[in-house]
């Protein structure tokens, strides 16, 4: 389902970004939805307690307008303005998108401005129809670049943006490169980075294949031993 977005540049070295599909998008949305619901609820609880404590309901009866202005309205604003405000401030990201490893970009790969981000959010009114973002979800499933109506209107799309920022810090050593060559050293590093995410049998098989190129690997080596041997290769 995931396609790519090619970003041409004047140097002739192009970059391809992976377009996030309905799964990646929904994952980010669900995280964001939880955050905004929790933040709005937190406001209601905190301000509700400061307003009338456990007797907030009684306070509501006594002064409904104050209760609405101080408790309900800010919570509603937090919920409604979460996406537009954070997307503008975080340049196409939100906490949920960051956790899901996706970000909003323009069709040329650039960071979208305030206008496109606001238009994108305005069309949530259509995308959320008739319930549970059905129009938006169907649109992401049917369109080539997996975009919802708001993205079509704003000229934006969601791409994966989950590169490891520490890649330069633990780059392969000279000895590691001399032993394995840069390509295989990088393969080993990639495997070690993904070690916790992979199933034990899958990572053991991959580790064996890499280690066997350097020499025989005894049978029955455990998970930790295989990992240790891989780490030794890079040192």
């Amino acid at each position: 389902m995931d396609g790519t977005l090619k970003i041409p540049s004047v140097t002739g070295i192009d970059v391809e970004l992976r377009i996030a599909g309905p799964g990646g998008r929904s994952y980010a949305f669900v995280i964001d939805w939880h955050i905004r619901v929790l933040v709005a609820l937190a406001w209601i609880i905190v301000s509700g307690f400061s307003f009338g404590g456990i007797d907030a309901v009684a306070a509501l009866e006594a002064s409904p307008s104050d209760f609405l202005l101080i408790v309900v309205l800010p919570a509603a604003m937090l919920y409604v303005l979460y996406h537009p405000v954070l997307e503008v401030l975080m340049r196409g990201r939100t906490p949920g998108k960051r956790m899901a490893g996706v970000r909003i970009v323009k069709r040329d790969g650039g960071v979208p401005g305030v206008g496109p981000l606001l238009v994108r959010n305005l069309f949530r009114l259509i995308d959320s129809l008739p319930f549970l973002y059905l129009v938006g979800l169907v649109a992401t499933m049917l369109t080539k670049q997996c975009v919802r109506v708001g993205d079509i209107a704003a000229g934006t799309l969601l791409v994966y943006d989950d590169t490891d920022a520490t890649a330069f810090d633990d780059a392969p050593t000279s000895r590691g490169i001399e032993r394995l060559g840069l390509e295989r050293a990088e393969l080993v590093r990639d495997l070690l980075a993904r070690w916790p995410e992979l199933r034990q049998d899958a990572r053991a098989a991959l580790a064996r294949r890499l280690l066997e190129r350097e020499g025989p690997v005894p049978e029955g080596l455990g998970d930790d031993a295989l990992r240790e041997r891989l780490e030794q290769l890079l040192k």
């Binding site: 970059v15 650039g110 890649a167 330069f168 001399e178 990088e186």
Partner: protein, 324 residues
């Protein structure tokens, strides 16, 4: 070869780390240091070359992916348009909104015509068949009018002005934005919203007139109604322009035309929403307060409308567009 690669990596790693740090400073800082900017710009071709080598030596490895990310960030940073949100906002109110409104003038005329035609139809309908007023007004409203009082009277006893204003402008902004976005249904959604609102207004005025309350209703809406209705007309025009972009995209593709129309409409709606906030404040603080005379209300309403027309007519002049 391996030795060469190893030396290359040893040489380049500090440069990449330095570029990453400076790029971060340039992107995050309000005023980036000139040396950081110069370094970042000069690093662009260097990183491009390094990326080409990294792709050959270790395609899809973590180093290559990180280099791709830095290269892309450099590309975005160097080739993006210069941003100054204060100037952009000022230009939006001074010249951009007027330009867009001018380009939509016929849409505004047609939507206004539709609104008044619907209002006339609503008024005629209730004039002929008063029992149909239940289609347009709630039972409580009807009962109040029948007892010789407007539902707007004593509003301040129910809610304070601050709450009224917030509720009103939130509701008006929602209606306007909804009228805009439903234009995606080839303009029919917008036509429906405008027609419905027109009929509602005509029917309510006609019904209050039958009970001798039309003047008092006019008195209530005089201060805020002109701008409120004008904004709804403009929002409707924007919605119709979305529909037109989809139905008659011209030389562009449908998607391009729709995108262009949406972004233009979005800009204009920012200005309109600001005016709706003002109209909401007037409706919350001035309209329900019997202390204000009709003359004063009319002065406020027409004065505010004049400001709205001045902004959308381009009478404020033009702010130069920045060089792309």
């Amino acid at each position: 070869m391996v030795d060469k690669t190893s030396r290359w990596l040893e040489d380049r790693l500090p440069v990449w780390r330095d570029v990453a740090v400076r790029l971060d400073a340039v992107e995050r800082g309000r005023a980036a240091a000139p040396e950081d900017v110069v370094k970042v710009i000069s690093a662009y071709p260097e990183i491009a070359r390094d990326l080409a080598i990294a792709r050959r030596e270790a395609p899809r490895g973590p180093l290559t992916r990180r280099l791709e990310q830095i290269y892309l960030e450099l590309h975005r940073s160097i080739f993006r348009s210069p941003g100054d949100w204060r100037r952009d906002l000022a230009r939006l109110f001074v010249s951009d909104a007027a330009e867009i409104a001018q380009s939509l003038r016929w849409h505004i005329v047609w939507v206004t015509a539709l609104f008044f035609a619907s209002a006339s139809a609503g008024a005629w309908l209730i004039n002929q068949y008063p029992e149909l007023v239940g289609l347009f007004a709630s039972e409580a409203m009807i009962e109040q009018v029948q007892s010789g009082r407007l539902w707007t009277e004593g509003l301040l006893n129910v809610a304070p002005s601050s709450l009224l204003a917030v509720q009103i402008f939130t509701n008006n902004i929602s209606v306007s934005l909804f009228a805009l976005v439903v234009g995606i249904f080839y303009g029919l959604g917008t036509a429906y919203i405008i027609g419905l609102n027109g009929m509602l207004l005509g029917a309510v005025f006609s019904y209050t007139a039958q009970h001798g309350l039309a003047e008092r209703l006019f008195e209530f809406v005089a201060a805020h109604g002109f701008v409120e209705l004008s904004v709804i007309m403009v929002a409707g025009a924007c919605g119709v322009s979305l529909g037109e972009a989809l139905a008659r995209p011209g030389r562009e593709t449908r998607v391009q035309a729709f995108q262009c129309a949406s972004l233009r409409a979005g800009k204009l709606m920012v200005v309109c929403c600001a005016f709706l906030v003002g109209a909401g404040l007037i409706e919350g603080y001035i309209s329900p307060d019997p202390a204000y005379s009709l003359a004063l209300r009319l002065s406020i309403g027409l004065g505010y409308l004049a400001v709205f027309v001045i902004v959308l007519s381009g009478a404020l002049g033009r702010l130069p567009r920045r060089a792309e």
